[in-house]
């Protein structure tokens, strides 16, 4: 009886323990950053964090759920417009109104899912795009919120935003800089919650089911995974997350128009390139992707449309020659996993004391 092999299922790797420690240190650094960093750096990091959140949710949808959407701008736009609606029509403070963005995204995601799930694969991609276009055109008819030309957040609402007074006093900065710090912290919190949430989801039983559906729908169904339910789960989760992010982005931007808030380039093309270049189907990929994206953008900012062309070309080359992205290449070579979700069988390690 004792020669029965002792085994256990493990997901942690040695690298992931030390990476965890680095993460904690980084988070502490990011929280304290506004005390000494310049306003420009804070704004850059806000952009990086929010793009990363959008990328993580698109990755959850496409990389894990197999639902390649080209219509995530629908939720960015709806989230942002719901926040504006809450502030302008109901007189809410912009910060709690961000949550309205998530609610609105969920409300529009449920009926759109009924349409979109009728389409398979590539047709799903363009179907979601059509839905986003319909929303853009409908919102442009909403005259109270500026119609096609858009509108700005009222000054009274931005000046008295939650916690900005305290930040102004503590950091001795002006109102606009205080708002940047506030939105930066919110973006940081959203990013941490998103990565932690997705990591947790992928390590639960549902995450295993999700990976099974991605790899082979029929096989997953045969072992009792409800594939349709998993699709709904990832679609709604990423809609809500994307809606909240959209609302947050526009609390920082202060000005909205249908063409900007429902822009397929800004909220979907960039996000797709971030995920593809970094490495689709991993948590690390989008993190690496957003850094590459930001560096490229800073380097090529003066070259106008060349920038998007280079980004598109890199995306094509990566897809052709390294379909798992740059993180895929790194982890293939080194076996490195910072957020391991693969369950490994460890045989013979640490025999149980009771035996």
């Amino acid at each position: 009886m004792t020669d029965f092999p002792v085994y256990r299922v493990q997901t942690q790797t040695r690298a992931s323990y030390s990476a965890g420690a680095v993460c904690v240190a980084l988070i502490a650094l990011f929280i304290l950053l506004p005390t000494f960093a310049s306003r420009g750096l804070i704004q850059d990091l806000f952009f990086i964090f929010t793009m990363l959140v959008l990328a993580q949710f698109w990755n959850l949808l496409a990389g894990y759920g197999g639902l390649v959407s080209v219509g995530q701008q629908a939720f960015v736009g709806m989230g942002a417009y719901a926040m504006f609606g809450g502030v302008i029509l109901w007189g809410l403070d912009p910060v709690p109104a961000i949550l309205l963005g998530g609610v609105a995204a969920l409300i529009v995601a449920i009926p759109t899912a009924f349409f979109a799930f009728r389409l398979q694969g590539a047709y799903f991609a363009i179907g979601t795009w059509v839905i986003a276009e319909v929303m853009r055109l409908l919102v442009a008819q909403w005259k109270v919120l500026g119609g096609g030309t858009g509108t700005s957040l009222p000054r009274t609402a931005t000046r008295e935003m939650w916690a900005t007074e305290w930040i102004q006093a503590t950091f001795d900065v002006r109102g606009a800089a205080a708002r940047d710090i506030l939105t930066y912290w919110l973006a940081l919190a959203l990013m941490i919650a998103t990565i932690a949430g997705i990591y947790w989801l992928l390590r639960t039983k549902r995450g295993l089911a999700l990976a099974a559906v991605r790899d082979n729908v029929e096989a997953a169904k045969s072992v009792g995974v409800d594939a349709v339910r998993m699709k709904w789960l990832v679609y709604l989760v990423s809609a809500v997350g994307t809606g909240v992010t959209g609302a947050l982005i526009y609390v920082q931007k202060l000005r909205i128009s249908p063409d900007a808030a429902f822009s397929v380039t800004d909220w979907t093309a960039y996000v797709i390139f971030i995920v593809v270049i970094g490495g689709i189907g991993t948590i690390e990929g989008p993190i690496l992707g957003v850094l590459i994206f930001f560096i490229l953008q800073s380097l090529l900012a003066d070259f106008g449309s060349w920038y998007l062309m280079v980004l598109g070309l890199i995306g094509i080359v990566v897809m052709l020659f390294a379909p798992r992205g740059i993180w895929g290449l790194i982890s293939e070579k080194t076996g490195l996993q910072i957020f391991p979700v693969r369950r490994r069988l460890v045989i013979g390690a640490q025999p149980n004391k009771e035996d």
Binding site: F115, V134, A140, G148, L308, I316, M319, P323
Partner: protein, 287 residues
Amino acid sequence: MIWIDTIIQGILLGGLYALFAAGLSLVFGIMRLVNLAHGDLIVFAAYLILLLVSLLGLSPFLAVIIAAPIMFGVGWALQRHVLNRVLGPDILPPLLVTFGLSVVLQNALMEGFSADSQRLPAGDIATASVQVGGLNLGVLPLLTFASAILVIVGLNQLFYRTELGRAFRATSDDAVTAGLMGIRPDRIFATATAIAMLVVTLAALYLGMRANFDPNIGPARLIYAFEAVIIGGLGSLWGTLVGGVIIGVAQTVGAAINPEWQILAGHLAFLIVLLIKPRGLFPRALD
């Protein structure tokens, strides 16, 4: 009478959308590939024709004869060297590569030709019209519609009457087995995309003569084309024509009620068809 006129204008506009869609439908039918750069390739062809018109001083109709073989070559090379590499059971790589291509094309055209609107000089034909039973019909829209019908008849003949068409159908059914019979699927795919680019060139001619175009209008054309294909049902070219007509009529009727509703009405018509008949009006293929 105004309503009849509006609907007839819509039907004729549908001919243009069917031309946009025919190439997409052909490529999808044979290799299950949705080319997200389809709309941008139409715009690219329009600029190619414009370039030939302004450099050589040709009429757009003559310029098309030179542009068509160039686009044929572009299609062949694109399929042979890029898209064939990403075809497979996983739909993600072809989608992302064609999406990347769409972004590259848009911005390359932007660099080359700026964001200014352009138009192909059509001469007298642009404003010519004929009287039919009290209705004033533009010659150009009629010509577009006739071309769409000719293209669809031609493609159907190609599909069901020729050896190449047989190879297309065989590869579409089962590429591996077709390979055992001496057909080379990669070449068949390249030929199909090349032929689709011929249709794209024709679509570009009418797009450029009928309205202004700029480098950013490709995605919207892709969406109209896609809606026409879905409404018609996958694999049915005549269905694609019907789909184009439905989108065209919805748009002109919408615009007649309120000019801001033109595009929206087309999308809503698509969503309604999708809700009632998820597989389109005349489904053939089981996808």
